[in-house]
Symmetry: C2
């Protein structure tokens, strides 16, 4: 273990987010992971959003597939914001206001699970309502915690 990793490992051990941080050998790995997960989430959110907004025809199977991916991936990025992983577009308040950031991530994951249930109904009105609740979390987080 080189000294840089040892430093981050030691810093992480002092925080509540040790288990998440310990999943990555280097801070850059955590940044790449969270950016990748958010990118995949964004692609499938965009596809479902296009159906919800009527820009592409509604396809119940495609809606279900997109919502299932979203529900799985929406739980992932937050583990990539452990102590010592500042960087990318992340604002400093992700770490200084960690409780609020975590609450937003948890709510997004819960709303994504509800979106998955709604998509399985095949009812576009239900999907649209669930999508609105889910996507609101994206906007809140980007407004408050992301540099554009």
């Amino acid at each position: 273990m080189n000294s840089r990793i040892a430093f981050f490992a030691a810093a992480a051990a002092l925080t509540a987010s040790f288990s998440a941080q310990a999943q990555f050998a280097k801070p850059e790995d955590a940044i790449k992971y969270r950016q990748s997960a958010l990118s995949v989430m964004g692609t499938h959110t965009g596809r479902l959003g296009a159906m919800v907004a009527g820009r592409v025809p509604f396809d119940a199977k495609a809606a279900q597939d997109n919502a299932a991916v979203i529900a799985t991936v929406a739980a992932l990025p937050w583990g990539g914001f452990g102590a010592g992983t500042e960087g990318g577009k992340a604002k400093a308040n992700i770490w200084t206001d960690a409780a609020k950031f975590k609450a937003n991530g948890d709510k997004l994951a819960a709303d994504a699970a509800r979106l998955d249930v709604a998509a399985k109904s095949g009812n576009l009105d239900q999907i649209r309502a669930a999508f609105g609740a889910y996507a609101g979390n994206c906007k809140t987080c980007h407004d408050e915690f992301r540099n554009n």
Copy 2:
């Protein structure tokens, strides 16, 4: 629509992979998407692999969580290799030997689904066998279709 996108859209319309290509507005978006999905898959494969290899203690819940992510994400990258999306580390034979590439991707997704079932058993020997079959596809594909 600018001329470059129009060109790719026209090229894509001539191929069987139109529907995948049509999911992305620009080739760069497809490249970013597949790289992101593969990166997330690689992270969770590495975590499960560390348990299978005994480098970290076996944790049945963590193994299930990782396998569930892998099973969902393993189906995604291949839709990002549509016509006109050459680039990144992708070798040209992905497009010139598309049937073989698709067969590898399909087998990987099927083996990932079996790994998910094995992980739910909580039995490390079953997980190890299923992981070996799954991970073999990663190696085959990297050897044949990826520039390192």
